[in-house]
């Protein structure tokens, strides 16, 4: 390649220039010298703050000193740069023309023609091949979706939210202690779990995920001895003990609040309220169904047990629930 052909311009380009006194270029600041000095000060201050934050890290001072100095330094550095841009750099207003993005009709037609006509030649003439390719790609897609559908997790079967409370399951509190007649005073409340979900790990009583998430049950003792929450549930509340599933029928939060005067269980998530005396029927809020009730009794040793499993799935509704 000859030198003349490929000679980058080595002289100054004659193009529009502007003088410093042009108001488009000129300072937006009334006192540019003063602004320059201030910005310089701001930059120096930011350096000092960065230094302090470095020292705070090194010496392991409180996080707020480290963060405060770092934030202050960042802010001043940014503020100085922005002020420099705003007051001491070409201000404009400058203008740039917009070029129409749309091309000429001829060019549009050329593209459309190429798309349509090539498609006709390639696809429409070989319709069978096109169909087979599409079928192949479709089958591939379905096959590739298998791992996603099958490997991620188990297919839900019929055991939705089935609890491990059986007839005769002993109620235990979070420390694994079984409950006797006088464990709770009238008006008292505690969370209980089925003893068959309890195990010891690291020397501590703990429960399976199933026991904690699904089987958690709230046990209350109401004053006034045995009562009936609903017709057909006679004898479920010995000595005023009554047990309901603690999983809210709305969205599954633990129904953890107890309004003692009104004898209401309250879900702290969306304020559904359940009337304890009347079978935990929702009295207020978005919950659609009562909390399922666990029938209670005593075993031979005088411990509280469930006399039968819950009569329905626990927690929020799902499509397969009948």
């Amino acid at each position: 390649m000859s030198d003349t052909e490929h000679q980058p311009s080595r002289t100054r380009v004659p193009m529009p220039i502007a003088a410093l006194s042009d108001p488009h270029i000129g300072d937006a600041a009334r006192h540019p010298k003063r602004v320059e000095g201030l910005i310089a000060l701001v930059f120096v201050a930011s350096m000092v703050l960065f230094g302090i934050s470095g020292a705070a890290y090194w010496q392991n001072w409180s996080p707020w000193i480290f963060g405060g100095a770092l934030g202050g330094g960042l802010f001043l550095l940014g503020f100085g740069l922005t002020a420099w841009g705003k007051y001491l750099m070409p201000q404009g207003p400058f203008v740039e023309e917009r070029h129409t993005l749309a091309k000429s009709p001829a060019e549009r037609n050329a593209l459309s023609a190429a798309l349509v006509e090539r498609t006709t030649v390639v696809v429409k003439r070989r319709r069978m091949l096109g169909g087979l390719f599409a079928a192949g790609a479709g089958i591939m897609g379905i096959v590739l979706a298998f791992p996603l559908l099958r490997s991620l997790g188990p297919v839900p079967k019929d055991e939705f939210d089935v609890s491990q409370w059986k007839a005769g399951t002993v109620l235990v509190d979070s420390n694994g202690r079984a409950i006797r007649k006088d464990t709770l005073v009238p008006g008292g409340l505690m969370t209980v779990y089925p003893r068959n979900q309890m195990y010891i790990e690291y020397g501590k009583v703990t429960f399976t995920d199933q026991g904690l998430a699904t089987d958690q049950t709230v046990l209350l003792r109401l004053p006034g001895g045995e009562f009936t929450t609903m017709p057909g549930r006679e004898g479920w509340t010995p000595d005023g003990y009554v047990a309901y599933s603690k999983v809210c029928t709305h969205l599954g939060c633990p129904v953890g609040l107890y309004e003692q005067e009104l004898e209401l269980l309250v879900c702290p998530c969306h304020q559904s309220m359940f009337n304890i005396r009347n079978g935990a029927v929702p009295q207020f809020g978005p919950a659609p169904r009562p909390l399922p009730q666990l029938p209670l009794g005593y075993n031979d040793q005088g411990y509280l047990i469930s006399t039968a499993p819950y009569d329905q799935p626990l927690g929020p509704a799902f499509f397969e629930r009948s």
């Binding site: 529009p16 488009h24 802010f75 503020f79 100085g80 207003p93 400058f94 993005l101 839900p156 499509f319």
Partner: protein
Amino acid sequence: MSDTAIRTKRSTKRAMGPYGQVGKIVDELDDRYGIAKVGRVALDKIFPDHWSFMLGEIALYSFVVLIATGIFLALFFVPSAHEIIYHGPYAPLRGQRVSEAYQSTVNISFSVRGGLLIRQMHHWAADIFVGAIIVHMARIFFTGAFRKPRELNWIIGILMLVLAVLEGFIGYSLPDDLISGTGLRIGYSIAESQPFIGSYMTSFLWGGQFPGDGSIIPRFFIIHVLIIPLALLALVSIHLALLVHQKHTQFRGEGRTEHNVVGSPMFPTFMAKTTGFLFMVAAVTALLGAFAQINPIWQFGSYDSSKISYAVQPDWYMGMLDGALRIMPSWEFAGVGHTVPLEVFLPAVVFPTMLITFWLLYPTLERRITGDNELHNLLDRPRDRPKRTAAGVAMFSFMFTLFAASSTDVLANFFHVSLNATLWFFRIAIFVIPAIAAAVTYQLCKEMQGVHGIGKRKRAVIVHRSAQGEYSTVPSAPRPDDEHVELDPEPVPVRIDIEPLSNGADRQPETSPTGVRQVTR
């Protein structure tokens, strides 16, 4: 050649040409990539100077902060639901069963030097990110910047908002603390409420029934640190590329037309301002992280599905969804052997889907209604489009009412009214407040259109009292800053002349080439 024999500083400089090392680099790059023209255009790219254009920048820069702080956190976080006994420096937790995810988050806060600050910066930046996106979206909506040819960028923006909210929810679920665990439990039940697919979806995602087999934390982790950030990065790139390709919109003003852009050049003015702004956004997150505690998970404890705390509120951007769940009546469909919990499915699945679809389709809908198929590069003043402005205000007041409804319990406690009354107030307000807001906005816009000199500073009026006790008023003389003075826009100069050139031939007059005409609006 004889002068190559002796190389001095000066001779080397002369050989470089008038632009020195930079010129040399430009030559080399242009040989290979042909950057000369594109590069020049890029330097001169004009950015309109209006404060409202910074809102998108806040979102962009908080995303930068999120990536930077997120990389740091990912070095220490252990995405595992495996339960262990805590033996760390935080005494109240010692001996408690916690998940590894929870313990590592506590360790980031207390054992990793600088970790607490970075964690809090990350959380604050996430809240700012979503907030900035929404405010930016409001600017785009009320000024009509979404109109043809920018519908696609509006759609990308909405998708980014959805991803950002999802990313935020997944992110604050990762520490596996009591509050986020409760949120996750609610999320599980919402997903489960969908007819046909619900239980399959939750079983596949959680690896079984709640709380699953412990897969959810590592799965959420990879979604949070890779999949959604990658999608966001791709969408941000397309968003910005489209913005550069189609150029900015601008408000009406002196010298501004549909066919130009008026403002500051990319280099150096906008570069300096926007880089400074990046530092300032980072600074705000750092200062918030340093002085304003956020999400102190060590106080909540590790998640235990049978425990809960009072005043359970999600992060603010999930508030709307929570409010909708609270005020929904308890309608459950049960029959033909199936149950559809409409009290969950409608407000938490159908409603947000409809809302997002509506936002995505809005530009098309407006074009259908107005029949306006023109290209628009000039922005509307909100008052000049009273119907759109009223619709937007109605939407925002609707969302804000739902947000407020997510704290019915706290409001009821604070104002000592019954929860029942609070709930019914919101059930009615959700329809009434947007209607009133829309009507008031429409009327205000109409009024503002008719006001002479709107948007200009009011001039003081002087009241005179004559000797006879008679009063008269005269407007005061204009002060220097009373009126907005703007210069005529002109092309970006290539060179700024500091010292007058000896050769006067290519020299422009001392004043601007077009002559300085001051325009008063």
